[in-house]
């Protein structure tokens, strides 16, 4: 196929990896509006002690959906969006290995999102169990609402979407690299997606299994998680975190890939320690499967398990450190151009280091026990997922938007967006470390008056984040309509970086390359 349908039909019938990538990205932006709005409702309710803005039922619903949407419908699809668009381009392929399967992966997200939104409107509303869905709270006895069943089915569908996508990525990367592109010649974004797809392939089926067990416990009275039937609630926690810890890397690794392109591009240098970063990525992928129970240090697991998982959690910090030092060495001695993409990439380092260090403190079990399920963990996970994944996605957005749309995002506006997001992020989440240490539990719709001051600060930070988000949307609308046109290589990075994305027109033609490039 070399002719592309026009208008709506193009988007509904496309199997072009670039169109599907854009569909993923637009969907994730759309979902981010809701995920962000829910966060706003939570921060509004917490802006003073004992506020009566949201009742506890509603608060818990928005809380659960904020997490669910941001993880499964914003960050993961956004990474898949960039992956779809750029992995084939970067390896010199004309499309993904299975274009129709690729379209199916995307279209599964839509009914899944429908189930999530629909679950608000059934009797009893949606899940109030947090995105972690711990049993017995999520069992039929304590959450009778069909909203929980819809939540489970929705996760099943996005899980299936991820698995199919992962197979596609693996087959594509293994088989469709341009001649001459050995594994250690793949650009780092491809490397991170290679490891990422492997993680998805091994971890997500476990989540699917756990969800199925939860569903049959609810629907047919099987007792996988019910002590009275010989089951065990801790089994859910083990299975859930066996998926959900690797999921953290599923959300972060491709972001690290993006940053590994942006940093050298705007330092006018080559990436430092390419092999080290690639190997560290693979190491994180493997060790990432051996740390899940650090989410369960207070659950009553055996001392031997605690000791093992504490150790592995420290071990995984080492390859993470390798990456951070390699990025620092990449910009060292460079000629840094502070484009918006570069600012977000540097902001990514600043914030991800914070999240990494606070994560490392959580490997210190006695400390973890004190702050587990407190606001300290809320702070930590937002430094990793917002400061890490989202900052990297924003770097990728400003970096690759010209390639995808043929238009350049307004850089002046971009600067304002960066500072709003960077400051807003720190004002919102930095105080939460302290709130957790002094005893504020997470997932609460109200708190003791002692915690009020820092909660007000956090809620104020949200306003900045909100403004940043709105301006970003405006910037995109503006750029698509009348932004400056982009040439093949608008940032002037191809001569040194030699990545194929900048060797073709913006946007690239259907099937990308008239002649498959050879890599020397």
């Amino acid at each position: 196929m070399s002719e592309r349908a026009a208008g709506l039909k193009r988007w509904l019938t496309t199997t072009d990896h670039k169109d599907i990538g854009i569909l993923y990205l637009v969907t994730s932006l759309f979902m981010a509006v809701f995920g962000g709005a829910f966060a706003g409702l939570l921060r509004a309710q917490l802006s003073a002690a004992d506020l009566k803005l949201l009742n506890p039922d509603l608060y818990n619903q928005f809380l659960s959906m904020h997490g669910t949407l941001m993880i499964f419908f914003v960050i993961i699809p956004a990474m898949a969006g960039f992956g779809n668009y750029f992995v084939p381009l970067l390896i010199g392929a004309r499309d993904m290995a299975f274009p129709k399967l690729n379209a199916l992966s995307y279209w599964l997200v839509i009914p899944a999102a429908g189930l999530m939104f629909g679950s608000f409107f059934v009797q009893g509303g949606t899940a109030q169990t947090g995105w972690t869905g711990y049993v017995p709270l999520a069992s039929r006895q304590f959450s009778g609402t069909p909203g929980v069943d819809m939540w489970i089915l929705g996760l099943h569908l996005v899980g299936l979407s991820s698995i199919l996508g992962a197979i596609n990525f693996l087959v594509t990367i293994i088989n469709m690299r341009a001649p001459g592109m050995g594994y250690f010649k793949m650009p780092l974004f491809v490397w991170t997606w290679f490891v990422n797809a492997t993680l998805i392939l091994f971890a997500t089926p476990v989540l699917a299994g756990a969800l199925t067990m939860a569903l049959t416990d609810r629907a047919f009275g099987t007792g996988f998680f019910r002590p009275s039937e010989g089951g065990d609630p801790l089994l859910w926690q083990h299975l859930f975190w066996f998926y959900s810890h690797p999921a953290v890397y599923i959300m972060v690794l491709p972001g690290m890939g993006i940053v590994s392109h942006v940093l050298p591009a705007f330092s006018n240098k080559k990436i430092f320690g390419y092999k080290g970063i690639a190997v560290a990525t693979a190491a994180i992928g493997i060790i990432g499967f051996m740390v899940w129970a650090h989410h369960m240090f207070t659950s009553g697991i055996s001392p031997a398990l605690r000791a093992f998982f504490a150790f592995m959690t420290m071990v995984i910090a080492v390859p993470t450190g390798v990456k951070i030092f390699s990025w620092l060495a990449t910009i060292w001695g460079g000629q840094i151009r502070f484009s918006t993409a570069m600012k977000f990439a540097l902001g990514f380092i600043a914030l991800f280091v914070m999240g990494g260090i606070s994560g490392l403190t959580l490997a210190v079990v006695p400390f973890d026990v004190q702050v587990h399920d407190s606001y300290y963990v809320v702070a930590h996970l937002h430094y990793v997922l917002f400061g890490g994944s989202v900052m990297a996605l924003l770097a990728g957005t400003f970096f690759w938007f010209p390639k995808m749309s043929g238009r350049i995002l307004d850089e002046k506006l971009g600067n304002v967006i960066f500072w709003l997001v960077f400051l807003g992020m720190n004002i919102t989440f930095l105080p939460m470390h302290w709130l957790g240490i002094v005893g504020m539990a997470r997932r609460v719709y109200t708190y003791r008056p002692e915690f009020e001051f820092w909660n007000q600060v956090a809620s104020f930070g949200y306003i900045l984040l909100f403004a940043g988000g709105m301006l970003l949307l405006y910037n995109m609308f503006k750029a698509v309509r009348k932004g400056e046109r982009a040439a093949e290589d608008p940032w002037g990075v191809y001569p040194l970086q030699r990545t194929l994305d900048w060797s073709v027109s913006s946007p690239p033609p259907v099937e990308n390359f008239a002649k498959i490039p050879e890599i020397v």
Partner: protein, 246 residues
């Protein structure tokens, strides 16, 4: 090491005061005002880990900031061409690994202290309900719910926790204790509060609608007051038991 501790403590106290200044009853926690040997050990473990780990935070953020200021592109400037250095790469793999190995030592010691309590002076069963706590003193024959847990100062209190419905978590920050209470399983924790007083905590595991209101109160009293309290409690919680008294 000593200096860093003093520095950390002053900083903490300042932040603590700033955030608690106007609260009528100051909140207590293991970091600012740890209560008992376990909480103190947790704190020193934390300080040790901080001393080991924080230099990496300052190093990374410092290098980043320096690079941002120092390597801003200049007209006609030329970027360095290096992109590997094996010795550097080995160093930044090995040094963090060694640091973490050292950090692990006191961590494992403290974990052991948390898991193996000294000889117990008082056993209390803690049972989570949506959304309140029930306490049982099996030896003393006392049980009640929705009231403060009362324990004698200076005594080792061991807890056996479970739940009748969903997962809860018993958390009193000042004692350095947080332990999930699971249905169908008994978990353990211990603490030893030295100073009489009133300590607050709350359920830490999302347990449903009123999770936020599932507070914990612990009243630490002198051993004599504790005896008195037990006697009084028996009178209240049991029907007037005239046969045994006479």
């Amino acid at each position: 090491m000593k200096k860093i501790r003093v520095f950390l403590m002053t900083g903490l106290t300042l932040v603590g005061l700033a955030s608690l200044g106007w609260a009528d009853e100051p909140i207590t926690n293991w970091l600012v005002n740890p209560e008992g040997p376990l909480a103190r050990q947790v704190r020193s473990n934390f300080f040790f880990a901080m001393v080991m780990i924080m230099p990496f935070l300052f190093l990374a953020e410092g290098l980043l900031l320096y690079a941002i200021i120092r390597f801003k592109a200049k007209p006609g400037g030329r970027a360095a061409a290096f992109h590997e250095n094996l010795r550097l790469e080995v160093l930044w793999t090995v040094i963090p690994a060694l640091t973490l190995a050292i950090t692990a030592v006191p961590t494992y010691q403290t974990m052991r202290a948390m898991e193996v309590p000294p000889k117990s002076d008082l056993v209390v069963g803690v049972i989570g309900h949506q959304f309140f706590w029930e306490y049982r003193y099996p030896k003393q024959g006392v049980q009640f719910a929705e009231e403060a847990l009362v324990v004698p100062a200076g005594k080792v209190v061991t807890l056996n926790l479970s739940s009748v419905d969903v997962v809860h978590s018993w958390w009193v920050p000042a004692f350095g204790v947080k332990q999930d209470a699971n249905p169908g399983r008994i978990t353990h924790a211990w603490f030893q509060a030295e100073r009489p007083g009133h300590y607050k905590g709350q359920c830490a595991e999302l347990c449903g609608k009123l999770h936020a209101k599932m507070f914990i109160d612990v009243q630490v009293v002198t051993p004599e007051e504790f005896e008195q309290w037990i006697l009084k409690k028996k009178g209240v919680s049991l029907p007037p038991d005239t046969t045994r008294k006479s």
